[in-house]
Symmetry: C2
Subunit: 526 residues, 2 copies
Amino acid sequence: MVTEYMKGQTPAQMPASGECAVDVPGKEGRLKLRYLGIDTYQHHVVFIRRDCPICQAQGFTVQSRVQVRLGAKQIIATVNAVHSPMLEGGEASLSESAWDALDAKPGDEVDLTLAPQPGSLSHLRSKAYGHRLDDAAMRDIVTDIAAGRYSDLHLASFVTACAGDRLDAGETTALTRAMIAVGERIDWHAGKVMDKHCVGGLPGNRTTPIVVAIVAAHGLIIPKTSSRAITSPAGTADTMETLAPVVLDRATMRRVVEKEGGCVVWGGAAGLSPADDLLVRVERPLELDSEGQMIASILSKKAAAGATHVAIDIPVGPTAKMRSAAAAEFLRDRLIEVGHKVGLAVHVLFTDGIQPVGRGIGPALEAWDVLSVLRGESGAPVDLRARALALAAMILEMSQSVPAGMGMQQAELLLENGNAWLKFQAICAAQGGMRVPPRARHTRPITAARAGKVVAVNNRLLSRAARLAGAPQAPSAGIEYLSPLGRFVEKDEPLFILHAESAGVLQYALDYILGQPDIVTVADET
Amino acid sequence: MVTEYMKGQTPAQMPASGECAVDVPGKEGRLKLRYLGIDTYQHHVVFIRRDCPICQAQGFTVQSRVQVRLGAKQIIATVNAVHSPMLEGGEASLSESAWDALDAKPGDEVDLTLAPQPGSLSHLRSKAYGHRLDDAAMRDIVTDIAAGRYSDLHLASFVTACAGDRLDAGETTALTRAMIAVGERIDWHAGKVMDKHCVGGLPGNRTTPIVVAIVAAHGLIIPKTSSRAITSPAGTADTMETLAPVVLDRATMRRVVEKEGGCVVWGGAAGLSPADDLLVRVERPLELDSEGQMIASILSKKAAAGATHVAIDIPVGPTAKMRSAAAAEFLRDRLIEVGHKVGLAVHVLFTDGIQPVGRGIGPALEAWDVLSVLRGESGAPVDLRARALALAAMILEMSQSVPAGMGMQQAELLLENGNAWLKFQAICAAQGGMRVPPRARHTRPITAARAGKVVAVNNRLLSRAARLAGAPQAPSAGIEYLSPLGRFVEKDEPLFILHAESAGVLQYALDYILGQPDIVTVADET
């Protein structure tokens, strides 16, 4: 028995209730912070003793949402009650995210008051019941989200209420405008500011670092903010982080772009769309997509990053995010329409979404592919190179800095003469220093059960397997994909190689893969 | 500075990582439980040291969902990481609900493994995207929910995806059947078993204890399980708990009913619809209604409680849950249809839902109204008495134990001759002993700003004010309503009296009321 105190027991050293600094009933209560070191991810929690008179006077119960104020800063947190003397009378503690958000130190005194219900919850309910949200309602919701007034349950409910195609064009525009409004917008004091985005769903499609290098080498401004993975094994920010620091504040990002013309940084650190960052946190475990939210997320970040022209890559394929040409065309039209309403010139490139791009799936594995293309290595993945060139060419032409039809020639030149590679190294250096991507300690090949031709690959199952192997949290984890469509494989030849940072996780992913024989389909050559 | 260790500091006494009992990488890890006394409400949390090798070997991160096994019991919990020496190497801790669910004691050793994603999440996503769920998909979802495999985010998403009228008749029947299937069903070995339910939304409408007393006094079997409040200031279980114990296990409930013919107990304790109990927990903070879920919740609990005949009271009024006759008729037809499919004879009574019933709004205040009707006191609320009689009469006739048209006469007789009151006292005694409902320590009258006639009352705002005053968590809290429609009031005469257990909460509710002048509308007599 190792515990000093038992469950349910009232500790003898419990102080008299008068020790809590409640002046008069109904006034806000002040508690001294003690550090307990509990990490609840980004969900703010305040820990209070169950017998604290402040809880009782103010009517706090477990799961109450309370305002926690420290000097000029304040957050809304969920109450967890503590039934043991970890906290003394008059003390409270915070989850790690709450310490950070308040910039609090142990011994600081915080004021607690019951947080009112977010005013926009009636709009959220209305949307859940299937009604349209007007501009004002959407602004109220996004304002409450950005201010941290929504609990995780509210966020999950909003994401679900907007899932799939539940937001129409007007609501999507309203959401985009609201998301731009609650964040800050960068002004580059330049005529044209280029940007790009890929609508996910295609493993390994890591063109961004290559495109930025080419476009910046050409002399254009392309301040690229990228996201971390939501449902995929790697976001561009995850991949780029294995090559250089990506968590740059706005001032540092500005210095990088002013010096090199381009950057590839994590958008969350720049605080460009604070509401979107909070939504992403609950979208991740729910693995839910919302077309309207996706459009608002993309365009609000581009507008906030100061872009004027945006190239959007939409991979189309049976297991990509966009499964049909009709769905992709609908998305394109909506992106262009909403972009126009918020002042962005949007151009769309449909790309083949039938199979993974390059070889790597996972942050570091994709970074190695990027490096081999930029360095012009002989074994560099030709598909990744071709896609990056097509996007770079489109951006060069959008900017009207090359004649129409001449974008590809110029993009190829910049890649082949090494200028893009030099520019990429300069960008990495400016972001804080270039890094060597890590290699996983544990690998295991998944082999063909029979000889034949690779006739199908399920990108979704492949992505899921890479995530189960640890990507993107474990940057070296993921999948090295060796069997593009049409390749002939022998029995027992590796189709792909699983990479993981621990044997336990490797086994976990393997167990999943063994139950999914259709990840890669090998059939007789016909 | 009161802390023994600082945020971010690595404690010197941190043990070597080998102390965690990991046998081989990839095997499940075993950790010894230490009590920390952290109450996260019913959300299971497992606390693990961030540097624990088990976390690393198994790939646990903060927010991971893990299976925690102790002997034959197991739960799924969310990981919170601890960055401080509150836990030693090889130790873990649990939230209060998780200790209870595992029946764990400090020093017990638990096994942890990564929990697979619930298999039914693809169905949940499909529903969120607007597709219908078939019987098998609904069964998969409800099975996962009942097994505790859904996180709060998943539950919030499911509730939202089914909100309003998003479940059709077939889906509602499937949900009802699935909810019955995952719980246990009581067999009373009797021909006819009566039950009643009120579709909420009308403050103070606490007929159940009176109806059960009359019906049981008549000699019928009426094993009533009630719920706690979701979005209202009191559920019947909350009110009844101020009069007698309601948390009865199944065996005790059976003894009460076999002895007295009836009971009024909390359905959650009987475990009659375990999936519903979990859904209610997230519906509460979201304040979301779902017609399909409401029907499934009502009927699954009635079927599980062994009922054969169910009388359902549907109050209709502009600020009741059912605002129009059309909505009420739609609900009635759906209840009868789904009831028929799961083997329940459902009868519906529409009642006037225009204003509160009785005087009390809140657990104890409503209990005082119930007592005054049962005791036949001269000042007993006539509206509550009349409604209880109408429902009791309907149930007596449904059972065919009185001739058609004779139910009301028999119900009045049993109330007036004191048999119902004697039966109620006997039921309370059998449930564990009759109690005196508490009185609030703090009250404040809300007065009329002008003289005139009461022409409107907003039940929703009134309910919200009662909740802000602390109901139902604080049983004595709520509202004593003094101004029924049509009454003439003088300026400064009390319209209602706010009751609260603390001055802070009283003020909080008052602040809300001051911002809502339309709770009770007083106008010139016309």
